[in-house]
Symmetry: C2
Subunit: 380 residues, 2 copies
DNA sequence: ATGGATTTGTTTATTGGTTGAATTATTTGG
DNA sequence: CCAAATAATTCAACCAATAAACAAATCCAT
């Protein structure tokens, strides 16, 4: 039932502790010594030394010069993530561009390729072929840098089934698209853009381990992060916040129901309500209707999940100053527990690249979460 | 980040594998042999034998006569949970009764004490003193049976903070009540009744590992079970479904907002709408308004969490036949993914005792989840 | 400059726990 | 009554972490 259904052997102990040590180093802002890692992990220095040897041999960690220090004792050798080890390839197909990026273990974006162009008129196969070209170019450049690409992830604006097929991506006009073998065998996972953007914000630091990322685009999606892990739902399509009911007698929605959030706070609805033509012009408009609707939806999330932090991304990020008051008022009114524990609203830190960087970050994260799997891979 | 921040030593391996073996036995409908357990767990027979020895010595498992079999080979000794080992004490304080029960490891209710009486006029201290008497009597009877009570849990209809204080229980008139030391040192955990009832339904079997339990009483609460574990939210107050917004212009709610679910599907609202005085009379009434409101709220849950099963408890359980159509229609209309994956509505199996049994079950579950902790306890 | 104090990192024997193979136990079937 | 089959236990080997001793590299006081 509750406990996982897998036996644990000694090798799992090692796998767990490798991940533990690696993540302590990864989360340390400055290079950290073996001894400090041992103290932080609760393992002995001897054990940490042995684990670190493996991690260095596997190009996951590197030793750097000891930081000069004015205390007695042998100076500590610093450990940090290797910038020339495994890397993640992040891909994205969205309404008006295709993009790829390469991110190394330390989180730095090493390469970034963007191909603007409306994807709606082209069919899925053509769009994917174009993406494949872009991705190969990114791989070529990564290899030239001496990086080993550990995997790839693709962000799409739509519902993705557990097996990676895109069930529906309304704004791309996609319907049951299997991405297939894009890169000659290099596995490509596919995920929803809001989910990946949420992970990306998590990686950007300074966020609590549980939060909701709300992405405002043509549609509205949400990525739910619980305790540092993306919550995907039972079948993989959680976070469909865009179709929460705001008013049962509200305007009809393209989903067939009435009064969905999208009809109040979706990009098109906001433009229509403000009587302007571009997103940039919204900065001067009255957004109280959208804000109130967003507040109602956010209240539902908080009442159900008791999450204290909401990150607003996509077009909402720059508009947050104008939305905050209406959202806050509605949340205060509707969330029972708001009296004890405040709900924090934040603007997303990362711009439009969030989803793509989150995709690359997901690959990196999978290596950091299971270094033993990386060490045991078939060497080239 | 994602991986837990604790080191793993060999002893944790044993702790994990003890839990693994114990739960395989617990989940087996019939007594199961060591060999079959080994096959199911992936451990070797030698290891399972050693683990089982410990579990038997700790009165968690017992050997039963081998089931007669018509095949060659030494007959297998059956293993099952010990009915005379640790037991859980479940407590409940609700609007019109106090109750206690003792449940053994196998899930059987061994004792059940119920003291009817309106708790609203008495203050919290008096109610708790009465509960304490009831609990002591239950403990006495458990001891007379040779059971060792491993712990106690209390179900209350209200919001419970992480430290066990009841922040607010509107229908009891409680406000920041610390339960304190009820039973001379025996630890008592406190939890929301909907949460515990949800766990109770999970234990009653036949449910998928992720579902939502909706409890209709004076207020409406929800227990969210994700992957076999209760989801409590960041600060412990998840599942406040009763105050989801159904209609922003709806009737005012005692929470201060307008159009909350409780104003449509709460017990009092349903009675008022049907023009009857007792819950029993609702069976013949038109419940389409409540059903539609419930359907809207359930759609919100499913859209956010992608959960495929909803269990309706409390007063909703007997009324489900009359509610199903309205709920179903609204869910089909509002849940994007309903086309691919059906949402199943079920009536709760357990009656009014669900929360109290869930409380006892939570104690049992904590032993099953961490048998090593139980084995390492100070023996009497 | 030199020896003691201090901190880091490695070496080595020990311990806890699983594994795999061999062994013992208990049944059915010819 | 013996062979085949299945269940459970015993025992040596192995793997990974620990504790304690040791080596290395620095600061500081004399």
């Amino acid at each position: 039932m509750t406990a996982s259904r897998a036996p644990v052997r000694q090798s799992s102990v090692r796998a767990h502790n490798l991940a533990l040590v690696l993540q302590i180093v990864a989360n340390s802002p400055d290079p950290i010594s073996r001894a400090a890692t041992a103290a932080a992990s609760g393992l002995t220095r001897a054990t940490v030394s042995a684990l670190v040897d493996d991690l260095i041999a596997g190009t996951l960690l590197t030793e750097v010069e000891p930081a000069p220090r004015n205390r007695a004792g042998r100076p500590a050798a610093g450990l940090r993530l290797a910038p020339d080890g495994p890397a993640g390839l992040g891909l994205e197909i969205n309404v008006d561009y295709r993009a790829a990026c390469v991110v190394d273990l330390t989180g730095r974006v090493r390469h970034r390729l963007l191909e603007p162009g409306d994807q709606r008129p082209v069919d899925a196969a053509t769009a994917l072929a174009g993406l494949s070209r872009l991705a190969r170019e990114a791989l070529r450049r990564a290899e030239a840098d001496g990086l080993t690409v550990a995997g790839a992830a693709l962000a799409v604006p739509g519902l993705v089934a557990a097996d990676g097929t895109v069930r529906i991506a309304p704004n791309l006009g996609w319907h049951d698209v299997a991405v297939g073998d894009l890169l000659d065998g290099l596995p490509v996972t596919v995920d929803n853009e809001a989910n990946l953007a949420a992970l990306s914000e998590l990686g950007a630091g300074d966020l609590p381990p549980s939060f909701v990322y709300v992405s405002g685009e043509i549609g509205i999606g949400a990525g739910i992060v619980l305790d540092g892990t993306l919550f995907r739902g039972v079948r993989g399509w959680s976070g469909e916040i865009g179709h929460l009911a705001i008013d049962p007698a509200g305007p009809p929605c393209r989903c067939g129901a009435q009064g969905c959030l999208e009809q109040y706070a979706g990009q098109e609805a906001m433009l229509r309500a403000a009587g302007v033509a571009t997103v940039a012009e919204l900065a001067g408009a009255d957004l109280s209707v959208a804000g109130q609707a967003l507040g109602t939806a956010i209240s539902a999330v908080v009442n159900l999940l008791d999450i204290g932090t909401v990150v607003l991304g996509g077009i909402y990020a720059p508009l947050l100053p104008r939305l905050r008051e209406a959202i806050g008022a509605e949340v205060d009114r509707r969330v029972l527990t708001a009296d004890w524990s405040a709900i924090e609203l934040r603007a997303a830190r990362l711009g439009p690249d969030a989803a793509m960087r989150g995709a690359a970050g997901a690959v990196i994260r999978s290596v950091l979460d299971d270094p033993a799997g990386w060490l045991a891979r078939d060497r080239p």
